[in-house]
């Protein structure tokens, strides 16, 4: 048996944490893009479009992320796509993230007073101009704190990718535990690494929120 020093454990976990970060970034950027497209769809799609996207949001918020990962993993295979755990995890987390972000952002757009839309219309701005020059700059200010806060949920969500065999921080923790028989130490480190990634973001979200409230009162 190979002897693992504490440094070996930490070094291997740090390696795997890079994949947690990579998957988080892909899910966040992908989810942000899809979420923004859905947001626009909700604004221009009329009642049926809004209902459709509302159903999409309900579907992802009302089912476990773990099931979504399994469905992506086995679903892609059914359609003849050569599934890697990486692809399935990236797809499932992107869709999951998009559902939450589009819902968060919808609330932020709704927080912009109606008069702003009307004023923009009365200046004969086109819809995209209204959005770009009048609504979005105001909505983004409100949207930043909860969006940063949700990034914490995305990072924690990537831990479930370990279940379909994607080797990130949690999966690496399981593998190292199987080799070292030191679950207390290894999972303690795993938790600590997640904390090191998430806690600064949580603090950042809180500070942004406080600034926003201070600016508005």
């Amino acid at each position: 048996m190979i002897d693992f020093t504490v440094w070996d454990i930490v070094r291997n976990l740090l390696d795997a944490a890079q994949w947690t970060i990579a998957l988080s970034i892909v899910a966040f950027l992908g989810g942000g893009t899809v979420g923004f497209a859905l947001l626009i769809g909700r604004l221009v799609g009329g009642r049926s479009g809004a209902a459709l996207i509302g159903g999409y949001v309900q579907l992802f918020q009302g089912t476990p992320l773990l099931m979504q990962l399994f469905l992506a993993y086995f679903g892609l295979a059914m359609f003849g796509i050569d599934t890697s755990a990486w692809l399935a995890a990236a797809l499932a987390l992107t869709l999951y993230t998009s559902a939450f972000l589009t819902e968060i952002w919808r609330g932020c757009i709704a927080a912009v007073p109606r008069g702003q839309w009307e004023a923009a219309q009365s200046l004969a701005l086109s819809f995209s101009e209204q959005l770009r020059y009048v609504i979005l700059p105001q909505a983004i200010e409100v949207a930043t704190p909860p969006t940063v806060g949700f990034l914490v949920q995305v990072i924690k969500g990537t831990a479930l990718a370990s279940v379909i065999g994607f080797i990130e921080l949690t999966k690496a923790g399981t593998m190292i535990t199987n080799a070292t028989y030191q679950p207390f130490l290894v999972y303690g480190f795993v938790a600590l690494f997640y904390f090191a990634m998430c806690f600064p973001l949580s603090v950042c979200a809180r500070i942004l929120e406080r600034k926003l409230h201070a600016a508005r009162h």
Binding site: P64, Q68, L160, V163, G173, P183, F184, V190
Partner: protein
């Protein structure tokens, strides 16, 4: 191409899974919320060292994944001499997880208590505990109940992970079914649909229960 009959034919397994998902949720939700209320009290009215401990607990839990918390309890604690069954580990992990989020949610409700209410309570010679239980907590619950309901639903959905330590809840049974008949996609579609129904039912139930039993209808 799809064969859902093969899955639905396994309904006794699915039912067994649903039963365990419900048991995990019903066992952990009240304890988690009660723990949250107690911790929120410590944060609002406790000694400085108590506040520090609660703050650390809340941040540690909210900034680490549930699956890691579960693995730490189930695989890690036996190394420290505490051995728990999969079911007990699952419930404990859910209580600890919900407790941290409930603390923050209920604290927000407590902070919104008007000063006059506290002054009125102290002029009636209520003790600090009485004031908290009868004056502060009911309106706080009424204010944050929607957020608390959402969090309980999230914890119920999160219990799908408990199958990973062989608690026989719904996702575990879905996995078992697909390992027997290789209909993985259909099996997880059915399980996902059941989870969706469960989350809608749980949300309705809690929205009905809260105003009737936890805080006055008028609140």
């Amino acid at each position: 191409m799809f064969d859902f009959v093969a899955i639905l034919g396994q309904w006794p397994l699915l039912l067994h899974g649903v039963m365990w998902t419900v048991i995990l949720t019903v066992a952990s939700a009240p304890v988690g919320v009660a723990a949250g209320a107690a911790f929120a009290w410590v944060r609002a009215d406790g000694p400085p060292w108590g506040k520090a401990i609660v703050a650390t607990y809340v941040e540690l839990i909210r900034n680490t994944p549930f699956i890691v918390q579960l693995f730490f309890l189930f695989f890690g604690l036996p190394a420290a001499g505490i051995k728990l069954s999969p079911e007990a580990s699952s419930i404990l992990a859910m209580v600890i997880n919900l407790g941290a989020y409930a603390t923050e949610i209920i604290r927000a409700g407590i902070e919104a208590t008007p000063r006059g209410q506290l002054e009125a309570a102290s002029s009636l010679a209520l003790t600090r505990l009485q004031t908290f239980l009868h004056v502060v907590l009911p309106p706080a619950f009424a204010k944050v109940w929607p957020a608390l309901v959402s969090q309980i639903v999230i914890v119920m959905l999160g219990s799908a992970v408990c199958g990973q330590i062989s608690t026989e809840e719904l996702s575990f049974e879905a996995n078992l079914i697909q390992s027997r008949n290789f209909r993985a996609f259909e099996s997880f579609v059915v399980a996902t649909a059941i989870y969706l129904a469960l989350s809608i039912a749980l949300r309705r139930l809690l929205n009905w229960l809260g105003p009737r039993f936890l805080f006055g209808r008028s609140a």
